[in-house]
Structure formats: structure tokens, C-alpha cells
């Protein structure tokens, strides 16, 4: 689920923090910059693991702060393909089941990857798995708050950095539609179309094997 990523960056320490130990200031700055943020094509950054190398610090004319190039390793949430994860169902909609793992919410299980046959119950807004046994069909409701085990099948990174002035003309015509669609920078696509991938462990294996 988590990986260690090596990165380099130049950290700026303002003069009023010179009394603190450099390593502490740098660790704080890096965490301030990266923690809980998604880095494009890398993943969701959690916290600093360690600092591997500190180069010399420089002060430039016009700016009293010190600039230090730092080589460090950061703990990043980036599940590998086909990894099994356990999450909680946050909501269901026509585009599938939305799952969350607490610190990361943008996980979607599209209708094709649900246990077939599955149908969407409009009244209760939940997906239902119609499980067939010899006795008849059981309906497994994917209720909100239920734990769900799924396999990661795909991931998408979207670059959400601000666009340049070329979009200024387009925005004047869209003046009425102020709200732009907020895209999640990092989304995971899951699948549960395999045996035992619903609910957690024990009851599933016993009941639906």
C-alpha cells in the first residue's frame, strides 16, 4: 500500500527560523509542502521518512532566507496493481460503488466490476448483488458503512495545476457557470468480481463458498 519515494527539493528557511536546528526546520517545511497532497504520477504523500543528504545552504542577494537542496525519502500511498485493499463503502451511484479508506476517498468500483449479476436499487440508492444458491436468490445490499475488500485494477493521475491565461477567453463566456468541475488528482478503480471479495474474511468464505 505504501512506498518510499526518493525526491529532491530546494527548501527555503526564513531568517527568523535560523535559531532552530536545520534538520528540524527542513523536516517541517517538507511536511508542510507535501503531507496529504497528491504528487502527479507518484501518489498521495503521507509523511517524511528521512533526509538522506543535505547540500550546502546558500543565501541569495535580495532574499535573507537560506536555500538548501535536500535529498529525502517520503512515505507515499501508492498501491500496486492487483493489490487487495480493505475499505468502507461511502456511497453508491449509477457510476458504481464509492469506497473510502479514511485517508483516501477517491476509489470507485464501476458496475462492470461488481459481482454479477448486480443491479442498482433506485429507491434506496444502493447496488445489490443477486446471489443465486440452490435455495433461491439472496440479495446482498452494498450498504453505506459496510467493509468491502477489493482489488486495485487501475489508477488515474490528473494534473490539476492551474491553467494559463489561454483559458481566460473561455472563462468569460462561462461567467454564469462559476463552479468548475473539481477533478480528483488521483483516483483508483477497484474490482470485486472475484470469489470472496465482498465483506471481510470469515463469514464470506463460510457462507458463499
Amino acid at each position: 500500500m505504501f512506498v518510499l519515494v526518493e525526491m529532491t527539493d530546494t527548501v527555503r528557511i526564513p531568517p527568523w527560523q535560523f535559531e532552530r536546528k536545520l534538520n528540524e526546520s527542513i523536516a517541517e517545511e517538507l511536511n508542510k509542502k507535501l503531507a496529504n497532497k497528491v504528487v502527479y504520477n507518484v501518489g498521495l504523500c503521507i509523511c517524511l521518512y528521512d533526509i538522506t543528504k543535505l547540500e550546502d545552504s546558500y543565501i541569495f542577494p535580495g532574499d535573507g532566507a537560506s536555500h538548501t537542496k535536500v535529498h529525502f525519502r517520503y512515505v507515499v500511498f501508492h498501491p500496486f496493481l492487483d493489490e487487495i485493499l480493505v475499505g468502507e463503502i461511502k456511497s453508491c451511484s449509477q457510476d458504481g460503488v464509492h469506497v473510502s479508506i479514511g485517508f483516501f476517498d477517491d476509489i470507485v468500483i464501476p458496475p462492470e466490476s461488481l459481482q454479477q449479476p448486480a443491479k442498482f436499487d433506485e429507491a434506496e440508492q444502493v447496488w445489490v448483488w443477486e446471489y443465486e444458491t440452490e435455495e433461491g436468490a439472496h440479495d446482498l445490499y452494498m450498504d453505506i458503512g459496510e467493509e468491502i475488500r477489493f482489488r486495485v485494477v487501475d489508477e488515474t493521475f490528473v494534473d490539476t495545476s492551474p491553467t494559463g491565461p489561454s483559458s481566460a477567453e473561455a472563462s468569460t463566456s462561462n461567467a454564469t457557470e462559476e463552479v468548475q468541475k473539481k477533478e480528483a488528482p488521483y483516483t483508483l478503480v477497484g474490482s470485486i468480481s472475484e470469489p470472496v471479495l465482498t465483506g471481510t474474511g470469515e463469514e464470506t468464505a463460510k457462507d458463499w463458498s
Binding site: M1, F2, V3, L4, V5, E6, M7, T8, D9, T10, R12, K21, L22, E28, N31, K32, A35, N36, K37, V39, N41, V42, I46, C47, Y49, L54, D56, S57, Y58, I59, F60, P61, G62, D63, S66, H67, T68, R73, V75, F77, H78, F80, D82, E83, I84, V86, I101, G102, F103, R151, E194, P195, V196, L197, G201, E202, A205, S209
Partner: protein, 164 residues
């Protein structure tokens, strides 16, 4: 080493921040237990050093630490220790599993054969039934599970034997 300050007469470079992700992502995998340890240590450190000086800037770190710790604490890794992890990896050497598969076994602590089939690719071809059984045994014996559950299970076993 404290930074030494050198005055440079050149103009300020472009501040470009450069990410060097590892090409072999597998070499840098972290188990849930390692992240759990790291975050608990960090939380302890921050508590000891008193109120954080710039709480506004630290809010993101606080949020992500709290949420991640909350999630990881519900997984089997909360009962693990560095010794159990080491023991587990040594025991796994004979089974010829990939790094990713061993990591999943460590993080999830499967108790049924179906779970093993999920985590190990092409398990029908690579592992016989006895091998799957022995894998389950190793996992159950080396990796500690929920102590309440284990007490319940052993109590049920003795009851069963008694009734016979």
C-alpha cells in the same frame, strides 16, 4: 551537520522542484507495520516537543497522520513487532513468493485458503493444497492475530474436545 551559509553573487536560480521517483518501485515497498511504527513515533515526538509552532501549516500533516493511523490500527499490523516480521520473512523464504505477495500476506494475515488464492497469483498452478495449508499454518503461528479472537478459538476447541 548544520548548514553553512555561502553568499552567492549569481542570480537566484529558477526554483524548480524535481522529483526523482524510483524506477524499481518494488524495491521501496513499505509494510503497513513500518508505516504504523513511523507514524506512532512521529506522533510521540510531536507530542513531546509541545505545541507545534506553526499549527496552521501543520494541519495537513496532522490530518493525514490521524486518518492513516486510524486506518492502519484496524489492520492486523497493530499486533506485529519487528521480530515477528523478521521471523515471518525468514519462514517465507522457502515458499517462493514474490515480494508483493509476501507483503500482502503480512498486511492482511489471511486465515482461509480462498484468501491465499486471491493474494498469490496463479496459486492453483504454483501451490499444492498442502503448500497452501502450510502457508496458512505459518501465517497463523508467526503473525499474531487479535488476542481476543484467539482466546475465543482456543476456548471453543477445548469445549469441543470436552463434549466428545
Amino acid at each position: 551537520m548544520e548548514g553553512c551559509f555561502v553568499v552567492h553573487l549569481f542570480s537566484i536560480w529558477d526554483r524548480e522542484w524535481h522529483i526523482v521517483p524510483r524506477k524499481d518501485a518494488n524495491a521501496a515497498l513499505l509494510s503497513n507495520f513500518e508505516v504504523f511504527q513511523l507514524l506512532t513515533d512521529l506522533k510521540q515526538q510531536r507530542k513531546e516537543s509541545g505545541k507545534s509552532k506553526q499549527s496552521s501549516g501543520q494541519q495537513n500533516l496532522n490530518t493525514i497522520m490521524y486518518e492513516t493511523l486510524k486506518y492502519i490500527s484496524k489492520t492486523p499490523c497493530r499486533y506485529q513487532s519487528p521480530e515477528t516480521v523478521r521471523e515471518f520473512l525468514i519462514a517465507m523464504k522457502g515458499h517462493k513468493l514474490t515480494k508483493a505477495e509476501k507483503l500482502q500476506l503480512l498486511n492482511h494475515r489471511p486465515v482461509t485458503a480462498v484468501e491465499i488464492q486471491l493474494m498469490v497469483e496463479e496459486s492453483e498452478e504454483r501451490l499444492t493444497e498442502e503448500q497452501i495449508e502450510s502457508l496458512l499454518q505459518t501465517v497463523a503461528s508467526i503473525l499474531p492475530g487479535d488476542p481476543e479472537e484467539q482466546q475465543r478459538d482456543s476456548a471453543m476447541e477445548t469445549e469441543g474436545r470436552g463434549s466428545q
